[in-house]
């Protein structure tokens, strides 16, 4: 067993990889990237079809491809990569052996079989039901079965993560509390378990309904429980990518949290309140009371928004503090100007933070307000919002982490470093514009999941304003730019792994070196409170963010006040 339990010390980062965990992290991450590639190709087809007058796919293929795009990206790409992150945060960061690696392989196999099954079901054309698969619209049983298998695999992955935490604690591989990043991953894991449970509660009866054992699935009940899966899975992404933000702050700058207490409390608020946001999708539904909607959509008084606003300050704030310690103290922003903008690990994360906050966060709160939701419900504003959160927020953060993992985990030099350097900027340029133009078109009423906003061939067509067509055309152009940016990522990553220059693997040892707290650090170190305004640049940025937030929020109330009276 000595060889199977061996640990490799990465000479570049000093991280200690458990051999079995290392392999599982690799296969899960690679599987994720394969689905990202597939989803990316589908994304190009979807967006070009929606460019007015282009229609590269016919209607039937469009709805099929859109279904696959949603599931491959939102579920398969992200969850595979998140399982890799969970294993990394438990095993690698705590220098512990991974719990039950064989179960890890079972989890991986189930997830892969599930993902392939659902994809086959979709591409056979019998399951063009969109990612949401709203009952009573019915997909082929294999569609649901694949998702269920995938979820079971994911659940096993979550328990391996938890088991590893237990082992690390028992075997004393570290002292004190788990690192903040691992704490964030634990948050993601807990939300993931809630998510998967909701998924099981709704998808198993729906599967039985599709094979004829259950008579009827109530459409509203389906919506309520399905969104326990659909929205919560995006909250897993949020918790995971914020953990990655903190991790990259530590990796690139050696940043420590401004305050462990604040950052951990913010994660705790996610566990308590974030899932209530499932209600965001039900605000314009019949049969649910206003009280229920207000309480839930606000995550019980916006405590989860509060949490995100805290992370939004503390992640860049911790980078600022670390930079100022290195001597970049001039003015408000020397620390930022002198940041390593040519390092894709950093630039991805910074662009992820800004885009997630300004585009994804503000729009998310607007549309998650009970009455304001009527203005954008089911319009293409919604995809605009979640491309800002899930693509700019999560995917871009994962891309940034990849550039760190290539040398550290895969022992490969990042190939074509020039391309890698530009990749986050190209991808962001495309995605920022895409999110903005989708939101613009949605504000003008353009529906989501719609093949032809020109309504050709209908008796009573409606003509959307010219600006809506302009937005949709710009959307198409930005989608191409984002596709190129995504392609650069996949090209660099795949090339590095397959043909990249091998780096020194480092030494192996049978046991990990436990993490011991350096005594001096335990005594001193910055703890704030001394009245030194160390993160004032970030604070100023945060105030700009708040101003944009307040302005945009009330503009929407003003607009709502001008439409037909409804009550």
């Amino acid at each position: 067993m000595a060889t199977t339990d061996s640990f490799r010390i990465d000479p570049r980062s000093g991280l200690q990889y458990h051999r079995q965990a290392e392999t599982l992290i690799k296969v899960n991450a690679v599987a994720g990237v394969v689905f990202l590639l597939l989803g990316g190709i589908l994304a190009l087809l979807v967006s070009l079809t929606r460019v007015p007058g282009l229609h590269v796919l016919d209607a039937a293929r469009f709805y099929m491809v859109l279904t696959a795009h949603g599931i491959d990206m939102l579920i398969f790409w992200l969850l595979f990569f998140e399982i890799a992150i969970l294993y990394f945060c438990a095993s690698t960061l705590l220098r512990s052996r991974l719990a039950a690696p064989r179960w890890g392989w079972l989890a991986f196999a189930l997830m892969l079989i599930g993902a392939v099954t659902t994809n086959v079901a979709v591409f056979q054309g019998q399951s063009s039901v969109m990612m949401t698969s709203y009952a009573p619209m019915q997909a082929h049983p294999a569609f649901y079965l694949g998702l269920i298998l995938f979820a079971v695999g994911g659940l096993i992955g979550c328990f391996i993560f938890l088991g590893t935490l237990v082992i690390a604690k028992a075997e004393k591989t570290y002292e004190g509390s788990i690192p903040l990043v691992t704490f964030g991953a634990l948050t993601a894991c807990i939300i993931a378990i809630f998510t998967i449970a909701s998924g099981a509660i709704i998808l198993i009866p729906t599967f039985l309904w599709s094979v004829g054992y259950v008579q009827h699935i109530d459409a509203l009940m389906y919506r309520v429980i399905w969104w326990g899966l659909g929205h919560s899975s995006q909250q897993v992404n949020v918790a995971a990518h914020i953990s990655v933000w903190y991790a990259v702050g530590a990796i690139v700058f050696g940043a420590k949290p401004m305050s462990e207490k604040v950052s951990r409390t913010a994660f705790l608020l996610y566990i308590l309140f974030l899932q209530l946001a499932c209600a965001h999708h039900l605000l314009s539904d019949p049969g649910l009371s206003s009280e229920w909607k207000i309480l839930n959509t606000s995550y019980f008084m916006y405590f989860a928004v509060l949490a995100s606003m805290l992370h939004g300050l503390t992640v860049p704030g911790s980078m600022e503090v670390a930079q100022r310690k290195k001597g970049y103290t001039r003015g408000l922003y020397e620390w930022l100007r002198k940041a390593p903008w040519g390092n894709p690990v950093f630039s991805s994360i910074f662009l992820s933070i800004i885009g997630f906050g300004f585009l994804g966060g503000i729009s998310g709160v607007m549309m998650g307000t009970e009455q304001l939701n009527m203005l954008i419900h089911n319009t293409i504003y919604v995809p605009g919002h979640f491309h800002a959160t899930v693509v700019i927020g999560t995917t871009l953060a994962f891309m940034g982490l990849t550039y760190f993992l290539l040398p550290s985990l895969f022992n490969r030099e990042v190939a074509f470093s020039r391309i890698a350097q530009w990749q986050p900027y190209v991808f962001s340029a495309g995605m920022y514009t895409l999110a903005l133009t989708l939101m613009g078109a949605g504000t003008l009423g353009v529906p989501r999941r719609h093949w032809d906003i020109g309504f050709s061939g209908t008796a009573l067509p409606y003509e959307y304003p010219g600006a809506a067509y302009l937005m949709m055309t710009l959307m198409g152009i930005s989608a191409v730019v984002a596709f190129i940016g995504g392609g650069m990522y996949i090209f660099v990553t795949v090339w590095s792994i397959l043909f990249g220059k091998r780096l020194d693997e480092g030494q192996r040892q049978p046991r990990p070196t436990p993490l011991r707290l350096p005594v001096s650090e335990a005594i001193e170190g910055h703890g704030g409170g001394a009245g030194v305004l160390e993160a004032r640049g970030t604070f100023a940025l945060a105030l700009v963010f708040l101003a944009a937030f307040v302005l945009y929020y009330f503009i929407n109330w003003k607009y709502l006040g001008s439409v037909w009276g409804i009550n």
Binding site: M137, M258, W451, W557
Partner: protein, 190 residues
């Protein structure tokens, strides 16, 4: 020492929080309260709120109620599918069916008058999207949603389906007309 290592101080929860962070927590918390109270505030003082009135209903029942209205108030038909245009009296209950892939019938309302609009779907889920007002509601089969509407502009409005409902989804589009009220005719609006 860093976010990927255990906290340097074992008793990290007793470390003081930096002043700026405290300020931000206070600001963010106050803003969260504003966000929260805007919703009840609008329920009291705003004019655009979804009602809580909804019923379970069968497709046949909803169809029957709609048919009764159509039988009483149809003024003409439009398109080669002969979709009835109904002009129900102000203040009355009006019905709109969403089904694959059609809205039925076409409502003709009066500006600044109030109607109780009943919405339901007969088959799949649909989305009621009134354009260019951009009011969007979810329509769920088996449930009848009742909203009181007061059109404050006149003209021809479009009703677009914005919940994916199958291969004909993008052809599901219809109209809703709003006429000037009698007293206002000839004011030059619209």
């Amino acid at each position: 020492m860093s976010s990927i290592l255990p906290p340097a101080k074992r008793i990290w929860w007793k470390e003081p929080v930096e002043k700026l962070e405290v300020w931000w927590i206070v600001i963010a918390f106050l803003w969260a309260l504003v966000l929260f109270f805007m919703m009840p505030y609008w329920h009291v003082f705003g004019k655009q709120n979804l009602s809580n009135e909804a019923y379970r209903i069968s497709a046949e029942h909803f169809q029957r109620k709609t048919q009764e209205m159509v039988d009483k108030y149809t003024v003409r038909t439009e398109t080669d599918q002969n979709i009835p245009v109904v002009q129900p009296p102000a203040g009355s209950d009006v019905y709109l069916i969403a089904r694959l892939w059609q809205w039925w019938p076409i409502l003709e309302l009066e500006k600044d008058k109030t109607y109780r609009l009943h919405l339901s779907a007969l088959d799949y889920q649909h989305g009621f999207s009134l354009q260019p007002e951009n009011i969007n509601l979810q329509i769920v089969p088996g449930y009848e949603m009742v909203v009181t509407i007061t059109p404050n502009k006149s003209g021809s409005f479009a009703v677009v389906c914005n919940e994916y409902c199958g291969i004909g989804h993008h052809q599901m589009v219809s109209r809703m007309y709003v006429k000037q009220s009698d007293g206002e005719n000839g004011n030059g609006h619209d």
